[in-house]
């Protein structure tokens, strides 16, 4: 014994210095692998975010064209606005810049500079104020997707003409307009205020945002009370027997069931058996609630467990009943933890896509829902629809929609972290 403890460590190192080097090298290798693994994960996150930002920021501004439009009373009459030739009126104002363009085909090509929604925008404006007929007004309308891509530098002008959608003449038209100062690129509020559209330059997220809001509201209203009730019962009241064990195992397994299976359940039960409407945020919210409930139960139980027994004993000691202890003292103290868990659960629900696809919340709907029973999309399903669309403009819109979704998720998680740090008590 004494022999060993008396040997100074340096002699071990010197006697086996080759071995020691090898062992230290081994440690270096292990550390290096660890750092490489972490860096790989960080690199992937960086590539993910930067690819989204680099493609998505272009959707946050939109190329518009400003035209002086004479609203010709011969083409548009006040009593039949729906049949007014708004497209011809717009074309006339475009022709001012290009007096030498002739022929039906060429004129149609010229007109395609404007977004398909331009005539409706003008119509709505005249409808709101019929006195504009016969006047010259300044309108500011989006250009169509191909020209938007051109303005954003997504079209390689030097590539062979048959590999791009716009001919040299069309590019020339656009440059003429640009030089005349008719082209502007304001911030694209339509991304948030328009509903979905087949034309990328008009498509927006309003329908998806409202749909997600309704779905999350329903999800919260169902899963929050159910989750808290179940958690309080299991943690504070349930006798330890086979039944409570069964419920416990069941909840843990439910949290790990693939989300698409919840979609199948919703499709078969809510829509198939109960006859609820397809694509409705109500059904989406109910489905998400079933998935969020286990998360909330698990978080609530952890929060209840963290309240020290002394609180319970003190309340019981002054004569409170078991219910009064739980609802008057334990639950309020556990509330910050419960809310944190709930917000994180809702953030997960906001990003959930697969079950919503199965209940039809990927429909093409061009107006925002007025109630949870109307057909709607949600943010993640809108991303899925746009990611599937072939038009080039939708690539940047998809990235932009993802950035919007991530902003919401980060905000929700930030609130959760704030709540935790502000109200969490160390006992």
């Amino acid at each position: 014994m004494t022999d060993h403890s008396a040997t100074p460590p340096s002699s071990i190192a010197s006697s086996g210095s080759a071995l020691m080097k090898k062992r230290n090298r081994h440690q270096k290798v292990l550390q290096g692998l660890g750092i490489a693994a972490i860096s790989f994960a960080a690199l992937m996150l960086f590539i993910l975010i930067s690819s989204l930002v680099s493609t998505g920021y272009k959707a946050f501004y939109q190329t518009h064209i400003q035209l002086e439009v004479f609203i010709d009373p011969e083409q548009i009459s006040a009593d039949n606005l729906q049949r007014g030739n708004f497209d011809d009126v717009l074309l006339d104002s475009l022709k001012v810049y290009f007096p030498d363009v002739e022929g039906r085909a060429n004129l149609r090509k010229l007109e395609s500079i404007l977004s398909n929604g331009a005539q409706f925008k003008l119509r709505d404006r005249v409808q709101a104020d019929p006195s504009l007929i016969g006047e010259t007004v300044t309108v500011n309308v989006p250009v169509s997707d191909d020209y938007d891509q051109l303005a954003k530098g997504m079209v390689d002008r030097d590539s062979p003409a048959n590999q791009r959608k716009l001919s040299d003449i069309q590019i020339g038209w656009f440059d003429t307009l640009d030089e005349a100062g008719a082209i502007t690129q304001p911030i694209n509020w339509a991304l948030l205020t328009n509903a979905d559209s087949r034309f990328p330059e008009l498509a927006g997220l309003k329908g998806a945002l409202v749909g997600s809001f309704w779905a999350l509201l329903v999800c919260f209203l169902i899963s929050f009370p159910l989750g808290i009730g179940a958690a309080i019962y299991l943690e504070e009241f349930a006798p330890k027997n086979k039944w409570s064990d069964l419920i416990e195992v069941n909840i843990n397994n439910l949290a790990a069931v693939p989300s698409v299976v919840f979609g199948l359940l919703a499709l078969a039960v809510f829509i198939g058996w109960f006859g609820m409407p397809r694509s409705a945020p109500l059904v989406g919210g109910m489905t998400l609630a079933l998935m969020t409930m286990p998360t909330i139960i698990i978080a609530t139980r952890a929060a209840l467990k963290a309240v020290p027994p002394s609180i319970r004993e003190a309340a019981l000691g002054v004569g409170a009943s078991k219910h009064q202890v739980v609802f008057g003292h334990v639950l309020p103290l556990a509330m910050p933890g419960i809310l944190t868990g709930t917000i994180i659960g809702l953030a997960q629900a906001l990003g959930e896509t697969a079950p919503l696809l199965l209940i039809g919340m990927n429909a093409f709907i061009t107006s925002a829902p007025d109630s949870p029973l109307d057909s709607a999309t949600a943010l993640p399903t809108q991303i899925f629809i746009w990611a599937d669309s072939p038009e080039r403009g939708f690539v940047s819109r998809t990235s932009a929609a993802i950035l919007v979704l991530l902003t919401f998720l980060i905000a929700m998680n930030a609130i959760a972290i704030y709540l935790r740090s502000k109200f969490e008590r160390k006992w």
């Binding site: 071990i12 009730g229 790990a256 359940l265 690539v395």
Partner: protein, 457 residues
Amino acid sequence: MTTAAFLCLLVLSIVGYVWNRQAASAIRNGGARLHSLTGFHGFYSLLMIFVPVVVLILLWLVLEGPVIDLVLKSGLSDRLDGLSTGETQLIVAEIKSIAGGSIFGTPEQWKLDAAERYNTLNVRSGQLLLVAVLAMSLALLFFSRRKVAAEFRARHGVERIVSGLMIFCSVVAVFVTIGIIASLMFETFRFFEKVSVAEFLFGTNWEPQIPLREDQVAAEGAFGWLPVMLGTLVITVVALLLAVPIGLMSAIYLNEFAPRRVRSIAKPFLEILAGVPTVVYGFFAILVVAPAIRSFGQGIGLDVSPNTALAAGSVMGIMLIPFISSFADDALSAVPQSLRDGALGLGATRAEMMTNVLFPAAIPGIVGGVLLAVSRAIGETMIVVMAAGLIARMTINPLDSVTTVTVQIVTLLIGDTSFDNPKTLAAFALGMMLFIVTLVINIFALRIVRKYREAYD
């Protein structure tokens, strides 16, 4: 009407609360000693009204649709006699759309009449609901008011109701599981009426088509799930080959070697990676990873299909890195300090302590985490729906395009509503298999994790 019913209920239960509370206060002020606090008398009334009537409203809403449909169909029995279920459904749907105000073409007069009757039935049902809610709430209001007395145990009543509600909440979770199993089994049995069990389980051909015409021969459809399962396995293996080593290495580093500052930065990094919705990963796969793999493959002269298993699998692997890392980190942290101290005390370097002592001791917990990751990879949907293929092939080449169970479920069910052909029912059969496989893995994994925790606690 439903909103009115709810408002009505809300107002009456608040009235009940206030009324009972005041009655109890009056008794107390009269000098009697109350068994329960006045607030409990109020809550007793509130709960006595609110709970049963909410149950009534919900039941009504669930049963209203089917009952009205039944009445509608029985009114049309002379028209619908001898028609198949599909044709009946079509007519009912048409009547409903007429009732909703969207009339296409010129429907027959009897359909217009039926639509009008459908509308009246709906309005009647709403009125009836309102009346029922009012009557029941008022009855309960007076019933609970009459209960107020000095010796009435309102607190016990309230606590019994609340306990009942909480038990109901816990049982809902069980009902969800039962609902999943029941709905999957029901539709799966209907599927097996049309396609034999043996063909589904052992068939090597997956071509879910349905004949469009009676006499169509070519498109009988084949429903053997093996190629679909094989595709799922290929993608899962690719994902794990990426996620397990990287996840484990980062957990080992963070748990033992990382300075406190690195740890405090890297952990949130991984948490962000874990919080990204899967639809975002799917878009990442088609926007960045798949083109990169394709151009790399072409660069070294390999023929890579546009939606390879490799792209979907590796993106899924990225998604699983934080999952495995956090499980492994927990497992390593759960190893008792005495084992670390013992190994270091014997003169082991920290790396030797990790590889020879900590890691073997943590293996059960890590295996549990990896198994949970496997079940997640099998059940993951959006990444593969967006990045993997649609055609089932018996191949294990990760550069080929393969399909997965979840991809097939989603593509079979998108846009199709009728539940009476093998194509849509096949999705439920696949869902059943998915549920069984993931459930078995989950139970196994959770048991390992739990056992392992108990061993060191």
